[in-house]
Amino acid sequence: MRFTKDHEWVSLDGDVATIGITEHAAGQLGDVVFVEVPQIGKAVKAGEAFAVVESVKAASDVYAPVTGEVVEANDALSGAPETVNQSAEGEGWFAKVRVANPSELDALMDKAAYDAFVASL
């Protein structure tokens, strides 16, 4: 699993990356009340907003950590947004993206580096 400074995680299986927000981010947001996941087929670009997560207080964009095409979206989150709080880095995943260039992940942080980054905030 790799992590971004914007608190997304990405896990690669072959050329398909599963993407979500980190447990740290979910904790900071508080209770998630609404999630908007991308449509299948949508082209996403690393660093650009591709989903939205909302707490009582505010709406936050979720940025794509990699470039590619959405092949699956976690539609279960629309009926159960609290899954993001219960399992941010598991069942609370947002979308799966077929990545154009798997080496993009090399630029992202590993768990130790992300934990150190969070501790520095």
């Binding site: 914007d6 608190h7 997304e8 927000i21 981010a25 900071q28 947001l29 508080g30 209770d31 009340v33 609404f34 908007e36 939205v52 997560v53 909302e54 707490s55 009582v56 207080k57 505010a58 709406a59 936050s60 964009d61 979720v62 940025y63 905030l121």
Partner: protein
């Protein structure tokens, strides 16, 4: 993702550059020690939420009692020769007729009939009826410097406004607020909604009103700054009471249908448009002897161009401030001035301005969120019933 620790949508009046030095309240250190997330608000470092988060804090206030530091708000005394008559020159309400021991909601208006701020003004008296001495006024924190200047400029020379910068303001709100407060100030049980008293409690003098900004029963307690932590800690020692941040204060007042200055109200919005006509005394509507009276009289006679309504979002994301409102044909007819997810109702609610022809409860409309037209309908406010204790 967007920084999840980002503050509340900045108040248009209060937004400050990041480098600006934030003011503190007598309770700032107490909030930090309680684990609050502090954000800039109205020029102060204020707690947006504590460890439990906005949702739990909100629901706790509705079922038990929440404690709020609202010391950023502006407190003042207006005293002198005939202070009630003098204040009545400044605002559109009936203050000459205000009884001792009562407070009233009112508005500062500009000459175009727009709202400079909303406020509470009362005549605090002791439980034995003594101590009646002019008005005690509370205005919004982000507007207070300008408000007090406007009031001072308009008051007759024999009447003085004195800012009370050495006092904190603490609110306790919720169905169990009265039980938690009466342990320390037993006489509060004799007060009804909008009563205001000079009281002794927590070893100090207090100005207590039975009012608030959540739709619940509750009290606002003005306390000398040096005694603020004592009052706060003694109330918080009660297991029925938890600290509540500005995040839940905003969702609570939204459910109660109460407008927020800088969002639902501003210098372009008239009291008629905002549904605050009750704050304009009937005789004075005819006499037109207050700032902006011409526009207000015209709107009362002919109807305003837009009115504030409540919206229930029927599908999709919560609609937030700035979202456009469209009619069923897709034509943009209005805008959301504040909105979000209702923790009590578990759907999106919003306050919006729309044309009067579309303001009837049940009218189907659309809100545009991130380019998508989502179904909503006009509903009566408050969204959640207010539970004020009007009779004792």
């Amino acid at each position: 993702m967007t920084d999840p620790t980002a503050p509340l949508a900045p108040n248009t009046v209060s937004e400050l550059p990041a480098e600006a030095v934030l003011k503190t309240t007598p309770l700032t250190e107490t909030h930090v020690a309680l684990g609050a997330r502090m954000v800039p608000f109205a020029g102060y470092a204020m707690p947006v939420q504590y460890a439990e988060g906005v949702m739990k804090e909100h629901l706790w206030t509705r079922e038990s009692a929440g404690l709020f530091d609202v010391s950023h708000m502006g407190q003042a005394r207006i005293r002198g020769v005939a202070p009630l008559a003098a204040f009545e020159e400044v605002v559109p309400g009936d203050f000459i007729g205000l009884k001792p021991g009562k407070q009233k909601y009112s508005l500062l208006l500009n000459r175009q009939g727009g709202i400079i701020d909303d406020l509470m003004a009362g005549r605090p008296i002791a439980v034995d009826g003594s101590g009646d001495d002019g008005l005690f006024v509370v205005v919004n924190g982000a507007c207070k410097d300008n408000d007090f200047k406007v009031i001072d400029d308009e008051l007759s020379p024999q009447v003085q406004i004195e800012r009370l910068e050495d006092r904190a303001l603490i609110a306790i709100q919720g169905p169990k607020a009265v039980d938690a407060l009466k342990i320390h100030v037993p006489e509060v049980v004799t007060m009804a909604f909008m009563d205001i008293r000079l009281m002794e409690g927590f070893g100090t003098e207090l100005i207590v009103s039975r009012s608030g900004y959540t739709g619940e029963d509750g009290f606002e307690i003005s306390v000398p700054a040096h005694a603020a932590t004592t009052v706060w800690n003694k109330l918080l020692a009660d297991e029925r009471v938890k600290p509540i941040g500005l995040g839940a204060r905003d969702s609570l007042r939204l459910e109660a249908g109460l407008p927020l200055y800088g969002h639902d109200l501003d210098e372009t919005v008239s009291p008629v448009e905002a549904g605050l006509t009750f704050a304009i005394n009937k005789n004075r509507r005819e006499q037109r002897d207050f700032p902006g009276a011409a526009r207000i009289a015209k709107e009362l006679a002919d109807g305003p161009a837009r009115v504030r309504v409540g919206l229930k979002v029927l599908e999709g994301a919560p609609a937030r401030e700035g979202a456009e409102v469209a009619d069923e044909s897709g034509k943009v007819v209005g805008v959301v001035t504040s909105g979000g997810y209702s923790p009590s109702l578990r759907y999106g609610i919003a306050l919006a301005f729309v044309p009067p022809a579309l303001a009837e409860a049940g009218t189907p409309l659309k809100v545009i969120v991130r380019g998508k037209a989502q179904a909503c309908e006009v509903v009566k406010t408050p969204f959640v019933p207010q539970r004020y204790v009007r009779k004792i």
